[in-house]
């Protein structure tokens, strides 16, 4: 438990069945979740109907086997989904396209992310990757105790943020993309200036005996009693929410670096946290299986969501419009909750998630990402297509349709070992994993297929690339250049040391 950088490390050459071997340095969350499953049934049987309490470990195992069997039968479901998609291409499904004259009709937007760049530099597993809100930068947090900022278009490394004394588990971009917050197993949260790569903070007002701020007044945010595991900025950027292994959610005043409120949130580590779009609600989740929704201004719990099976929740986020909550459960499912009614609206399956705290979220592709000119006129409204994306423990990245729940793209073997996190910002997707690298993907606009010079790319079926990650979008030249640069600036040289 204490040797944190080893948290994500797994035996070399780990593959799909790595989770069955249970290496000693396995993810904490899995241990947690296991303890839940073993330890809870009796208490659950009291609070819930016997219907749910009866399945103890054997039947729950069966449940997992059943899901894996459904995975083996995936081709069928895909063929079904394919057919449904081909149906959806007919003009009827998109009501708007009906009004468009046939010559100008556009096919529905379909995510088609292709490998673009591989960002190498971390020396341990990369636990989280996030694209900045303006789409220009990529930040990655790693178990090697550093966070790195990359240029999203060139893949060049801009800064290595050194200062944490242990592995970095989470990070969050401020809405203005100029500040980055990182949370680490050293119980500290640090705020970084994206431009200078140095700590961005004047904690404690600079002086007057504030030991927290340190001599420069630019110290970390201290207060949690255990590892920091999740972070989120409010939409205005004035509040930072943090979830920790100490089972509490803290709300920080970002400007002053002051702890505003501590919420006694859960009875297990807080594994995920998120703000809704207007900043009035905070959602937190925990491996105790609860999802709680809090009022930011009063600090009160407004709603608690629990699924009947009580699977551990490892990550949570609000939908773009703030009306739903997407939860990542450790029973190979993502669930979309209507938190007002308190019911599950959709369950997304087809990825593998039983032991690790993996992440993903919502992505939106618009006509602009699909290569169309964006102009609102009578016939053409700007269409946008939302989808749900998640990492998978077998190294895949899976994208689902929000309503139909079918897989609309699967990027296989994006990472060797577990893929921990995927983040999407329009046409850019970033993922990270156990293999110490961050990968960038680019959506290939359907509009431009015909104009592509190499004829191959135009023919590729959207979901048909099951065998190998096709490399037609990989910018080979750029990739080589980056790698050469990285070699030249051997590890540690472009590291900015922080005065502590």
């Amino acid at each position: 438990m204490e040797s944190t950088p080893a948290r994500y490390s797994s035996p070399e050459g780990s593959n799909r069945d790595a989770h069955d071997r249970t290496p000693p340095s396995r993810d904490r969350l899995q241990n947690q979740s296991l303890s839940i499953r073993r330890g809870r049934p009796s208490s659950r049987s009291r609070s819930r109907s016997p219907l749910n309490s009866s399945p103890s470990s054997p039947s729950s195992k069966k449940r997992y086997r059943s899901t894996s069997s459904s995975r083996s039968s995936r081709p069928q479901t895909r063929s079904r989904s394919l057919s449904s998609r081909s149906r959806s291409r007919s003009p009827d499904s998109y009501s708007r396209s009906r009004s468009i004259s046939p010559s100008r009709s556009r096919p529905p937007i379909l995510p088609d992310y292709r490998p673009h760049l591989t960002l190498k530099g971390h020396t341990a597993a990369v636990s989280q990757v996030r694209i900045s809100p303006d789409g220009k930068w990529i930040a990655s947090a790693s178990a090697d105790g550093t966070a790195k900022i990359w240029n999203a278009s060139t893949g060049a490394i801009l800064d290595t943020l050194v200062g944490h004394m242990a592995g970095v588990s989470c990070l969050a971009w401020a809405p203005d993309s100029n500040t980055l917050a990182t949370g680490s197993d050293d119980k500290a949260i640090r705020l970084w200036d994206r431009i200078t790569g140095s700590p961005a903070h004047a904690v404690g007002g600079g002086g007057r005996g504030t030991t927290r701020g340190g001599p420069t007044g630019k110290g970390p945010l201290l207060g949690h009693h255990n590892y920091i595991y999740s972070l989120a900025f409010s939409p205005k950027g004035n509040i930072l929410a943090s979830g920790s292994y100490d089972e509490a959610v803290f709300l920080w005043d970002v400007r002053a670096g002051r702890l505003m409120r501590s919420l006694p949130a859960h009875s297990d580590p807080v594994s995920g946290i998120g703000f809704c779009r207007d900043g009035t609600l905070v959602v937190s989740c925990s491996t105790d299986g609860l999802i709680r929704i809090w009022d930011t201004s009063t600090g009160q719990c407004l709603r608690t969501l629990v699924h009947e099976d009580n699977p551990a929740v490892t990550n949570v986020c609000f939908s773009p419009n703030g009306l739903f909550v997407l939860a990542f459960n450790l029973d190979n499912s993502l669930r979309l909750w209507d938190y007002v009614k308190g019911s599950v609206k959709k369950t997304y399956q087809g990825h593998k998630n039983e032991g690790f705290s993996i992440g993903g979220g919502f992505g939106v592709l618009t006509d602009a990402d699909d290569g169309y000119k964006v102009e609102e006129d009578g016939d053409h409204k700007i269409r946008s297509r939302p989808f749900i994306v998640s990492a998978s423990e077998d190294g895949d990245i899976v994208i689902w349709d929000v309503v139909k729940k079918d897989i609309i793209q699967r990027i296989t073997q994006a990472h060797k070992g577990v893929c921990f996190w995927v983040d999407v910002n329009g046409g850019t997707m970033a993922s990270c994993g156990q293999d110490n690298v961050v990968r960038l993907f680019r959506h290939r606009p359907s509009h431009r297929i015909k104009r592509e010079p190499n004829g191959v790319s135009g023919l590729i079926e959207h979901a048909g690339n099951e065998d190998s990650p096709d490399i037609d979008m990989v910018d080979v030249e750029l990739q080589q250049q980056i790698e050469a640069e990285a070699e030249a600036a051997s590890p540690g040289q472009n590291v900015k040391e922080e005065e502590l």
């Binding site: 904690v203 002053a256 009160q300 007002v340």
Partner: protein, 461 residues
């Protein structure tokens, strides 16, 4: 968005107790922006401090005045702030960079000034002993138009006694200006012609201190020196067929304390205009009347100090008052009780015991696969994760079009030292042990006292 989940509409809509107390220097006046997320406070030393109401922390400090701030006014978007001090100066601040966007000097001290509700390049100011002015700051060199304080004398009428304008505000559309004079007269001025189109004596021979309008602009609140607070219905002045001769300003309520003969310090409407709140001279309490019946609903007992300037939050039951002695800003609000059913979804809060009748199939045992399959089959509903629902409380556009205030990190250092040197205007700052030495002190008035203490300690460490 939290309105979807809370039963706060069941709560009372006027404040109950002090929930927070914030201080930066000696505040003399406060003003909320239209979105209600930032509070500007003017200090005795001329500094303007912008507070973030969500964090109760300082968001920005604006230095440019050297005398006590008299009044503050926000532009609609929340990007520009007009501050006037008693030192004959007005500054229009651009909060994007915190710089002085425009600076205007007058030939007299300023009572108060207000920005045009739709155009931040125009404002009106009431000046001491001279005629009020309408200021156009579109260009860097401003244009000042003097406005009349008394209507033109008609044939056969006696002269109006000499009087000056003491309060000035815009109507909701910004087409007209309401002014009030030192002799209790209310004028309506057309901003185009700059002529008085309506004038009436509303308070007998007493100076009118303040005018306030509700958000809709249909109700007017007048505070005068005779100890009576009056509310009026404002006619629709932007009607096409408006005849200045038929304008009527019907009086709705008079609020006063006949027993104690209190003189009111400052007045404000509640968010919806349903309530009227006032502070009183030589009195520690804040008074809240309800406008339906005109009855006193609440006297807020706060700290043992007189508070003069008060302001109601634009959409919450939250009242802000500046203490005259300490310069502290006290915030009254309601603290909703935690609903225990929200923590445990299996439980519901019921008034009486309810006999539970189990459903027919409630304890049937089904294989897990079947349950799972049934569950998944039920998820056929069409839903939209992108479209923003309209009408869940506040109109969304006001919050999305609002100017995003930059988040600054270097506020703390710049403050504390000089704050201790020149605090207050004409008042000496008492250093009592209870007083915090930090420049900006926040004491969370949470309902759990233990937690409050803990919060304070972490801050001081």
């Amino acid at each position: 968005m939290n309105l979807l989940l809370s039963d706060d509409y069941l709560l009372q809509d006027y404040p109950e107790n002090i929930t927070n107390s914030i201080r930066s220097g000696h505040s003399t006046c406060v003003r909320f922006n239209r979105q209600g997320d930032y509070l500007a406070s003017g200090r005795g030393d001329g500094t303007v401090v912008i507070w973030d109401i969500e964090t109760m922390g300082v968001a920005r400090k604006l230095r440019g005045h050297s005398k006590q701030i008299q009044s503050l006014s926000w532009s609609r978007c929340g990007r520009y702030l007009l501050s006037v001090c008693i030192g004959w100066k007005a500054v229009l601040w651009d909060l994007k960079d915190g710089k002085r966007y425009r600076e205007v000097r007058f030939r007299a001290p300023v009572y108060g000034a207000e920005i045009h509700p739709w155009n931040h390049h125009q404002f009106a100011a009431a000046l001491f002993e001279t005629s009020p002015v309408l200021v156009d700051v579109t260009e860097r060199a401003e244009i000042q138009h003097p406005l009349p304080s008394v209507p033109k004398r008609r044939e056969g009428e006696p002269d109006f006694p000499k009087q000056t304008t003491t309060a000035i505000i815009y109507t909701a559309t910004g087409d007209h200006i309401l002014t009030a004079t030192s002799k209790g007269r209310l004028n309506i001025i057309d901003t185009k012609t700059k002529e008085i189109i309506f004038s009436e004596k509303i308070a007998e021979k007493s100076l009118i201190v303040a005018l306030r309008l509700t958000e809709s602009g249909k109700d007017l609140l007048v505070n005068s020196n005779d100890g009576i607070i009056r509310t009026f219905h404002v006619p629709n002045l932007s009607a096409q067929d408006l005849d200045p001769d038929t304008i009527q300003l019907p009086l709705e309520h008079k609020f006063q304390d006949v027993v104690n003969k209190l003189r009111w310090g400052h007045v404000t409407f509640s968010a919806s205009g349903e309530y009227v709140a006032a502070s009183a001279h030589n009195n520690h309490e804040l008074y809240i009347w309800e406008r339906g019946h005109g009855s006193l609903v609440r006297m807020l007992e706060g700290p043992k100090e007189e508070s003069l300037f008060i302001e109601w939050h634009p959409h919450k039951p939250l009242l802000v008052a500046c203490g005259t002695e300490t310069g502290r800003i006290n915030i009254w609000s309601v603290t909703p009780a935690q609903k225990w059913s929200a923590l445990a979804p299996d439980f519901a809060e019921v008034e009486d015991n309810v006999e539970y009748i189990e459903k027919e199939d409630e304890f049937d045992i089904h294989p897990h696969e079947e349950i799972q399959k049934r569950r998944l089959d039920q998820e056929e509903e069409d839903l939209d994760v992108l479209a923003v629902a309209s009408g869940g409380g506040r109109p969304e556009e006001t919050s999305t079009n609002a100017f995003p205030m930059p988040i600054l990190f270097d506020l703390g250092e710049s403050d504390s030292e000089d704050e201790l040197v020149h605090v207050g205007f004409g008042t000496l700052r008492r250093k009592s042990p209870g007083d915090q030495d930090e420049g900006d002190a926040t004491t969370g008035g949470e309902k759990v006292p233990a937690k409050k203490k803990a919060g304070g300690r972490t801050r001081k460490r």
